[in-house]
Symmetry: C2
Subunit: 375 residues, 2 copies
Amino acid sequence: MQNLLLPLHHIKTDNRASLVTNKRIINIRRIIGSRKLDGFLITDIKNIRYLTGFTGSSGFLIITKNNNLFFTDFRYKEQAEAEVTGWEITIEKGRRTKLIAGVAKKLAIKKLGFEQSITFEFYDLLRAKLPAVPSPQKNLVENLRKIKDEEEIGSIKKAVERAEEAFLAVKPKIRPGIKERDIALRIEDQLKKRGCKRPAFDIITASGKNSSMPHARPAEKKIEKGDFVIIDWGGEADGYYSDMTRTLLMNGKGLSDKIRIYETVNNARKKALSSAKEGIKTEDIDAAARDVIKKAGYGEFFGHGTGHGVGLDVHEHPRVSWTGSERVRNGMVFTIEPGIYIPKLGGVRIEDMILVKNGKAELLTGLNRDLEIIN
Amino acid sequence: MQNLLLPLHHIKTDNRASLVTNKRIINIRRIIGSRKLDGFLITDIKNIRYLTGFTGSSGFLIITKNNNLFFTDFRYKEQAEAEVTGWEITIEKGRRTKLIAGVAKKLAIKKLGFEQSITFEFYDLLRAKLPAVPSPQKNLVENLRKIKDEEEIGSIKKAVERAEEAFLAVKPKIRPGIKERDIALRIEDQLKKRGCKRPAFDIITASGKNSSMPHARPAEKKIEKGDFVIIDWGGEADGYYSDMTRTLLMNGKGLSDKIRIYETVNNARKKALSSAKEGIKTEDIDAAARDVIKKAGYGEFFGHGTGHGVGLDVHEHPRVSWTGSERVRNGMVFTIEPGIYIPKLGGVRIEDMILVKNGKAELLTGLNRDLEIIN
């Protein structure tokens, strides 16, 4: 088999009827037009899923004024035929950059937009093959994805529900003596039983000193008396994720500092939540949480941002941190997750997901957030 | 907290004693010198693990003639201190590109090499901040990683052993009536029981028509009589992966075509295996397998390459396909995995891992490869 650009092999002609109703593609095409692009190359696999429904792990799209072109490789031929309608499907052969250059030539695309998430290597090959330097587009699809529609919110709620049920099924086991790793395995098992194709991410269960590392991995360590136990986990439904964290305190001696830390994080969470509404800057939500923690004297122990968008990716736009200055809009779904992590002593994080609706924050996650001391 | 470049906060002074013995870093430094780079920026997380032992998910390195600089963010502070020796550890604050530019200025780095796997976005920001255009380096660390040392081979063998034991524990259940998804869940469970932190990838169990999609995901579909069942799974040990595939045939009517397909794939596998030795081009191993399949009339149904390297990544160099023209060397570990996938009828893949040692291929994976018809 030679590494040549083979003739485009059209498996299916496009189905324009379904396009008319596809708001997402109409939106993309509008932006492409306003940016004076002749075509837009989409390589991010979640963006591809968002626009086509394709759930495979490899492919790319080219959208022009009149064409919706979908490309994937041989492995996904049948899957693409089953999942993707309204797109002209081509099975890739040979080098991707040559194939793209061939399409650009055939459709007379001069200014081709591309996603900034492509690797430098791919960019460099692409630039060498195309007649004109391609044009980087920052977050073109991602900006649309920030605003969730009803269907997406339904999937996210389902992912939250599965995650919460999984946690509640395991919660009675979270006591001194159980290993961190066992908690994670049990939650993962419960998530899968409830239909999650995979956990949203490697579940974090961190106790005692480990809890002062915000992203510690579950260990053979057994939970001990007096430990904070951070559990950070998420579910999945229809490709959408949920993400939440709860911290439990095991009963023991000398808990007063730990109780004060927990209450500080919980107050920071409440402040951030009450600040979250349409029109506010994301950095101001971060500041609301951070100020509470700073005033309590723990400022240096809250090293991460206050939140992040959740959807087809567990971490997506908007970023809710001191660097984020975008305005909150209706339809956004993001986390609020302040934390305090004190080396050797332990850490606390409380993480919820909210949806901004009718101007206000609606909590998507439930489950108790007040301090629970486990005997 | 402002988004400014804060002063570098040195947590630990470097430990030069351990460097002398670190062949990997010496090799990198030699290549950097030969390419006339003043420094090399390493961002690929597996390359970071390879060079430092760090198992976290975020960080970067800068290597110069005299400095080994390790950067990670606040979340991994304690983990880095525990895992990384011989490197000067800095906790990142603010934008990464500003931090890198600050280091470049401080150490008078003019020509800074970077890995081609960085995103265009990161490259673009970096270029804007640095005094000179940074220099892309193709597979600098990856080329070293292709040749495994004794320790790495030990870890890979452990990953294989865990995977094989997991499969054998589940194999008696692989019969008509069980759901594809249940097989995958059981294997995953067995892998974790044997110490794998995670499966090497989402386990593939594809039966009947699904088996004609090489990367189908496990479904609710029950295995039926006459089905091919492809199981593609891998284990993990010390961060190293294994990857193997077996295909079982369920007894049923009219199996003669299926038996012929299986035997063809198995013959292709044998030909590829016997061709694999020091000095041969990887494309010739691919051709050895492909010729058998072509001659049997199934050429169009073998759409993927014959193999790939396995190590810290499940898919790494070398590529064993019609595009790969590199020479096989001692110490390489890669798969041999021919397949035939016929829409509606089903598919077969047999995948083994080999190590090239003393010029010859040594099979790392065991387990029966001859046709098994399950009643």
